[in-house]
Amino acid sequence: MSKYECIMAIVNHGYSDLVMTAATKAGARGGTVLSARGTGSKEVGEFFGIRVTPEKDIVLILVPQEIRDQTLSAINEGAGMGTKGLGIAFSLPVADVVGLGTTEETKTDPKAGE
């Protein structure tokens, strides 16, 4: 296993900045936001026969294992259920990473491309 974890935070649409602000304070470098739709039965409404599902943002953040817990608790505080973001966050173990620009990652074959 690598020394990284993938944190996934699911928040209401438009509140991904709350997640990123909290995560950056905890030491995360950046993230990627995807658009999604929630299917929780409480949130699904019906207007004039048209089912309306709430829009969500999924934020993917790759962090070193050492700061995983503090990042998760920072997200819970800054964008969790007690905020307008109404977010949940969890982490997945990452087996391997490429492209982060660390010294290990930048080792390339000097003859590559010849």
Binding site: G30, V98, G99
Partner: protein, 141 residues
């Protein structure tokens, strides 16, 4: 399941060699998903899904670097044996220029729902054969 069926049931992993699978997420700048899909195809991936997302870097920095925040996110399932090949190809690609930078990571898959799904995801439905008795003997020795 009846008793007879229970007795005759042999788990798939007893008779076949399982190939570990990885769930791979590749994040590249907007418009570059096609080449990542081709790379996945070369690595015998049977399932790829492209989503559109955006990065979270501040707008001021993006305007200075004249980089678009739009991203293509490719989710795919790869056999573990192809990960090194995939990684090396990505590493070379990412080192070409700042416009080709990206990130990829893999999460191991623990379980799948059914043998046919496993065969589809691992792309082994055509050539996977049961382990031969001689191979089994060799394993024990």
């Amino acid at each position: 399941m009846s008793e007879e069926q229970e007795k005759s049931f042999v788990p798939y992993d007893r008779t076949h060699r399982l190939r570990p699978l990885l769930f791979v997420t590749t994040i590249v700048p907007d418009g570059q998903a096609e080449s990542i899909l081709q790379l996945n195809y070369d690595c015998e991936s049977a399932l790829c899904c492209v989503c559109h997302g955006h990065g979270t870097a501040p707008a001021e920095i993006l305007s200075i670097l004249s980089v678009s925040p739009k991203k293509d996110v490719v989710f795919s399932v790869l056999r573990l044996e192809f990960w090194e090949k995939y990684k090396d190809a990505l590493r070379q690609r990412f080192s070409v220029s700042a416009m080709a930078k990206g990130i990829a990571y893999s999460v191991p898959l623990d379980s799948v729902a059914g043998i046919s799904i496993y065969k589809m995801l691992s792309n082994t439905r055509l050539f996977e054969k049961p382990i031969s008795p001689t191979e089994k003997k060799g394993k024990k020795e």
